[in-house]
Amino acid sequence: MDDLQFRRAIYADPNNPDADTIAAQQQDPSKKQFAQEICQLDEKIMRALQVPVPEGLAEKLILRQTLASHQVQKRKTRVHLALAASVAIVGGLMLNFMQFSSAYNNLGDYALAHVYHEQGSFANNATSLVTLASLNQKMATFDGNFSQALGKLLFADYCRFDGMKSLHLVYQGKTSPVTVFIVPKNEQLSFSPDFNDKKLFGSSLEFTHSNIIVVADKNESLELWQQKISETVSWLI
């Protein structure tokens, strides 16, 4: 190991000499002295580098971290709360929507569904009849009046027609009962003048405050029913 190489090695890292530099020191006293000098220099450098650390720095660091993580936690709980509130609101809206929105969007569809739902309840040849007087009593709710009976009235009562209080009349028909609904006007269901499916067909009559819907099987003449209704019904307003 030549002198320059030795000096470079010692200067670069005086405290961790490799095997070659140790061997070189042992062979040459002047090299050993040089190495010692540089080690002394390093001690001085070491002392000089050890600038005083500000008092309480460690405590400050811990304090700052504690405060910071506390803030983060607070922010997190706020976020969680906001999330929970949002979920609750969305859930509430969904429930509202599902409960109070109509599954049908026109009068005809709903009327057909209603008739099918209650099909079994009425027999065409039932003997108990409803009188014109009790029908008109019920019609008073809708400010309406029938001047004479449309036919044999088997059943007359209020029922829910898509959430609206309406009058459900069942008349004896030629082969199966004829259903008449008196329904207050509502914007949710669009007016459908004529509608039908495979078995039943129906038509709606529009009056000022109410619609009258007739649903019957294909053997009935809806025009006749409509005509009779138009002739006999009268409205107070």
């Binding site: 670069a12 001085k44 450098i45 500000p54």
Partner: protein
């Protein structure tokens, strides 16, 4: 199993001194050094889970601190000025011969170009090997060794050239 808090506090207690000194030699200003250390430990806290090997903690923290220091220059480019000797002045009154020498040598170290002083601080103060320093500074190991050689060489020459008597002598 240590909690994160316990790990963090242990890390602070063990290494805040070394880190502060390293920061000081990087920026030569006490207040800035303290701010850098604060930022570094705050970042370290956030990323503490990524520190798997406790032995690597020191070099990990130093890497964070160097990045913080670089960011400082990005933020306030206008403050990037030549090193001023006034900044390094130690406010402590110099009494003993030992402290006088320390003070004088500190000025000499501060006057070294940063590319020389940084590996020197890492080696002497941090106790890192040449290879470690090369990794941390993203340099070739030979480059690091050359810079260490030049740093010590310059300090040795400065010491050799120093006046025999310095400081204030009364009487």
């Amino acid at each position: 199993m240590m909690t994160k808090q316990v790990r963090y506090e242990a890390l602070v207690k063990a290494l805040h001194g070394d880190l502060y000194r390293y920061a000081y030699w990087l920026c030569h200003e006490k207040q800035v050094a303290e701010d850098l250390v604060q930022e570094t430990f705050l970042r370290a806290w956030r990323a503490l889970d990524s520190l798997k090997d406790e032995k690597a903690a020191k070099s990990w923290l130093i890497t964070i601190l160097r990045r913080e220091n670089a960011r400082r220059f990005e933020r306030k480019r206008f403050e990037m000025s030549e090193y001023e000797e006034a900044n390094i002045t130690d406010t402590q009154s110099i009494t003993t011969e030992q402290e006088l020498e320390n003070h004088w040598l500190r000025e000499k170290i501060a006057q070294l170009p940063p590319e020389y002083s940084e590996p020197l601080v890492l080696q002497v103060l941090g106790g890192f090997s040449g290879a470690d320093i090369a990794t941390m500074l993203d340099l070739n190991k030979n480059t690091v060794m050359t810079r260490l050689f030049r740093a010590r060489n310059q300090l040795k020459e400065a010491l050799a050239a120093q006046p025999e008597k310095r400081g204030m002598y009364n009487g």
